[in-house]
């Protein structure tokens, strides 16, 4: 099982796969961001991954590329899982949206945009989902000041 998934993806996208590993049954594929949508479509249509469980990001400042997009897929048909990671640089933080493939990606991507400032090309309605209008910056970025506050109404003394 383990080798089958990783080998299939590596064989299908030899140029796009940066790394593939398996740790105690957790399969992870690191892939170039240009190939994300194509790979995800392959996972859904050919390998039976019908469920996008989670889509989030991490900030590895000062590493470059700085961000990493993390997608967790699950197949209800075959009961197997796969994690797809995508390094994303700060100079061009744009990734293809997965919303056309899984409608559930919509709010995940809005959250990632809100918290990390990654942009999703092809997203139908990319705006903040957690923070309020007028909030500046992206609070889960490692360079967001720890004590910075942006109150909506003036505080009492």
């Amino acid at each position: 099982m383990t080798t089958y998934l990783l080998e299939t993806i590596k064989t299908k996208f030899p140029a796009a796969v940066l790394a593939a590993s398996s740790f105690r049954g957790d399969e992870t594929v690191v892939i170039k961001k240009e190939a994300l949508k194509e790979t995800a479509a392959f996972l859904r249509d050919e390998l039976g991954f019908d469920f996008l469980m989670d889509l989030t990001a991490a900030d590895y400042l000062p590493r470059e590329p700085r961000f990493e997009l993390v997608c967790h897929f699950y197949s209800t048909k075959h009961n197997y899982r796969l994690r797809l990671k995508c390094p994303v640089g700060a100079d061009d933080p744009t990734v293809d949206s997965l919303t056309p493939l899984w409608a559930g990606a919509n709010w995940f991507e809005r959250e990632v945009y809100d918290m990390f400032g990654l942009k999703f090309a092809g997203h139908p309605d990319l705006r903040r989902i957690l923070m309020y209008d007028g909030f500046e910056g992206h609070p889960l970025r490692k360079d967001y000041p720890l004590k910075k506050r942006q109150p909506r109404i003036p505080h009492r003394d």
Partner: protein, 169 residues
């Protein structure tokens, strides 16, 4: 039948403050502004084991306009702060505020970009209840302290001074 047969057409003298405060402190209609897990302990205080009705405060009003005391139960974040302010402004005088639990009191361990570091940054607070969450005994203790505070007030005092610019402190 009752007391009136015993006393006949007699009368009782007291200070106006005493009479008004006595009735106020035993009929605290509350407005629960519940945002987080503290709400479970709040419900426990209302239920039969602890029975907040013994203090005349068992009647939650789901309109702030009819409430006397605002219970802020749980974490309040910056996104919610204008709502809390508005609810407070809608309450009629006299009104009191109880900050329930450590998050409402000081932000608790949520010292981050999203959380208001204590609701007294938004509205004036009369009683703070510590605990994460507070036990029902602590809530009842706070209620009794609020009653003690109310019994010292005067009907002639305006509780909150309006500043000259028309904005409430």
């Amino acid at each position: 039948m009752g007391l009136e047969t015993l006393f006949g057409h007699s009368y009782l003298t007291t200070r106006l403050d005493e009479a008004v405060n006595w009735s106020r402190k035993y009929s605290l209609f509350n407005y629960p502004f519940v945002t987080a897990c503290c709400g479970m302990e709040f419900m426990s205080t209302f239920a039969s084991t602890y029975d907040i009705a013994r203090f005349g405060a068992e009647y939650p009003r789901f309109s702030p306009r009819q409430a006397d005391v605002l219970f802020v139960v749980g974490t309040v974040n910056e996104k919610l702060a204008p709502v809390l302010k508005r609810v407070y402004d809608q309450m009629c005088e006299p009104k009191w505020v109880v900050s329930f639990g450590v998050c409402a009191t000081s932000g608790g361990f949520y010292d981050n970009y999203a959380t208001v570091q204590g609701i007294d940054k938004i509205i004036p607070v009369d009683i703070y209840i510590p605990g994460c969450p507070p036990r029902p005994e602590a809530v009842l203790d706070a209620l009794m302290k609020l009653q003690a505070k109310i019994s010292k007030e005067s009907v002639l005092d305006r509780k909150y001074k309006w500043p000259s610019d028309g904005h409430r402190p």
